[in-house]
Symmetry: C2
Subunit: 423 residues, 2 copies
């Protein structure tokens, strides 16, 4: 394979071009004539192939020099594959067993060969189907706490953290997508916006003229751009998670960047709240998804509580970085000082997380990238009714994030919105 | 001059080694036999030479591969000269006329040839002498606002900001000095600490067992390490400012790093508060420096008010970055939304700035690097009386920073501490 010039793979060319790759041959079998290749074209950004040989199956993911969803008119650098690779390596070390195993990486070809997950499905798809996965709340809470704590100055040697900060600072174009599409575009008439119209027109107008909301969205963008606290996944929604009843794996960290600990957590919870409000568009008869709705709200609480308790556990046992050092607290016979600091840190994460969640809900309904949760609801009236409730919760979270103290309170608000007693 | 191997200059070797340097020859005259070289050895970190020729005078500053103050047992990389050079270039563009002009930079020799400032003196020295400089409040407020605003995502193209963030992230060793010596060492029995003993022993014990203070110091360290908001000078105290009655120049930005906007401002004000409390150790008769004390408190207010109004002016006229974009506010007929966001941003800077100021006061009295303001007070009882009041104000600022709303209030507290009605 020519390593000097990037060339996009196709299902036809892949066996020829990767047939000599020893990592792939070892995993799936060396006899290329037995290889079958399937391109699964549901990604917004990249090519993804499933390659099966006589011994097994692997995934080949290749970046394209443009946004696949839009085409060559929107260039996007190949180096996002480099960031995905480096993020996967770090996540594998920080949260063992939670990301796909990497077999091979080729920087010039922007290509990662990795573990094929089977019989895993995309979590978002499972939730649309009304499947109650038993472990995801716990698994995702642990993933978030472990990757976010261990990628920060709470844990890392500061020299390593600063080197990583510099490395990922070059992921400019993917951060730019978030900076614009998440934090700004939904709040004015940007070209790429779209929403269920005319049903949502009134609430869209209302949100775009909501000064407090716009200010909060920009404050959160300020946090996103300036609070270089840890290596975030950067795109941790239910479409970036693959599941079985027994297993949870997190994929697609090409948006990885140094940002706030709260960012991944907020984005994740937002997607569960959206799933919650989308259920009434998916249920065959009214109330058929009551159990699923309760499951989703409980899962949100499990994610946060697991995140919180694992973060606290890591704080007490792995706080080896430059921040909140033991030599100022525990070693000075003041363990309660460290607990006081922990409470403050968690409280900051909580308030930021709520804000990011609110904004994520808005951009997924008003911006460019919509979620299948709502998009699969064919009837626009029914879809808009779901989306409208989610938008209201998003605004509530973003603007009131300094005044909301528990997920129980948010649960009550969500349930009242669902029943339309607050709508 | 051999560009490949670093070699420390001496007053004797400098004419020979730099005699062929065209930038220096042009500025001071090409006839090396007329050059005179004086080493001004008051720096903690570097060699500084004043070189005079037939046409003029220039300064040659060279980093050493160790901390000069301590010796070869404390290595410190030469690349700090690279960061100083890059910071000076940026500051010159962002706050024209406020830093010395650079004539030449040699990365391998860690050497900067720059403008000789005359008849300027170090601001700290002037304040110890009781000199009331008429312009410094305004000049320093403008310097802070312009460099800090224009080095942030409020102003810069995000690609350039991220590239600079990566560049300065490599200034690891100098950040490490701040991280340890400023934010942690003063709050436990670190080896490098020293204080006026036994006079300060009781208050030192009290501060080291003050849980709220230690937690605040660590929160501020967290901000220092994670809030990569703008290019900070990093060491903006009164010893890094050179003055005449008419002119103010800021020097020595080798600690430059991407950090909070509030950091430089807090460090600067802290050094004025220290100057305030040191005056009673400098005055010949009680009350002789009353005018100077009033001048210092007024100057603190001038610095902050100038910073604040210039920052607001830049917010309204140069807010071209990705944050708080006009297209969400002014272009949507909501200029008041931008003002609301400005108030929040300034309020954050205010509260952080007070915290950094409090911690800076503590480390300058309890840590390794002390200030001449206090050190020149020969009588330890008299010195300790001054230092003790400063320490109390520092604690007050750091712990109460979320509850203090004006410099008038701080002025009243400082004046009562000075009169010992609060001591």
């Amino acid at each position: 394979m020519d390593k000097q010039v990037f060339e996009a793979l196709s299902a036809e060319s892949l066996p020829h071009r990767l047939g000599g790759n020893s990592a792939l041959r070892e995993k799936i079998g060396g006899d290329v004539s037995h290889w079958t290749v399937k391109e699964i074209g549901d990604g917004n950004l990249n090519l993804v192939f499933i390659v099966t040989g006589s011994k097994g199956t692997a995934v080949v993911k290749q970046a394209l020099p443009y946004v696949r969803l839009v085409g060559e008119s929107w260039p996007l650098p190949l180096k996002r594959s480099f960031f995905e690779y480096h993020a996967l390596v770090r996540q594998a070390a920080r949260a063992p067993g939670m990301v796909p195993e990497i077999f091979f990486f080729d920087e010039t070809q922007a290509l990662i060969v990795m573990e094929y997950l089977t019989p895993h499905v995309i979590l978002r798809r499972a939730l649309i189907d009304g499947r109650e996965l038993p472990n995801i709340g716990c698994d995702l809470g642990l993933f978030a706490a472990r990757t976010l704590f261990r990628g920060s100055d709470l844990s890392m040697a500061t020299r390593d953290k600063k080197a990583d900060l510099a490395l990922f600072a070059d992921n400019v174009e993917l951060c730019d997508i978030t900076e614009n599409l998440v934090f700004s575009d939904p709040y004015f008439e940007a070209d790429l916006n779209r929403h269920t119209a005319p049903q949502l027109d009134p609430i869209v107008m209302e949100l775009r003229s909501d000064r407090d909301l716009k200010v909060e969205a920009q404050r959160l963008k300020h946090l996103f751009s300036a609070k270089a606290e840890t290596l975030c996944h950067g795109d941790l929604h239910t479409g970036s998670v693959m599941v079985t009843d027994a297993e949870t794996r997190v994929i697609d960290p090409e948006f990885a960047f140094y940002g706030p600990i709260s960012f991944d957590v907020g984005m994740l919870l937002a997607n569960f709240w959206m799933s919650y409000f989308s259920q009434s568009g998916q249920e065959s008869t009214t109330g058929a998804r009551d159990g699923m709705r309760a499951y989703l709200l409980e899962t949100i609480e499990t994610i946060w509580e697991t995140f919180r308790s694992e973060f606290a556990q890591l704080w007490r046992t792995e706080r080896m970085g430059i921040l909140y050092q033991a030599r100022v607290f525990e070693d000075r016979n003041d363990p309660l000082g460290a607990e006081q600091a922990l409470n403050i840190v968690i409280d900051d994460i909580w308030r930021e997380m709520l804000g990011f969640a609110g904004i994520e809900i808005h951009r997924r309904i008003l911006g460019l990238a919509h979620n299948a949760d709502f998009e699969t609801i064919a009837d626009p009236d029914r879809r808009a009714a779901c989306e409208s409730k989610a938008l209201k919760l998003g605004r509530h979270l973003a603007v009131n994030r300094h005044r909301i103290h528990s997920l129980r309170d948010i649960r009550a608000t969500a349930e009242r919105l669902q029943k339309e007693t607050l709508a």
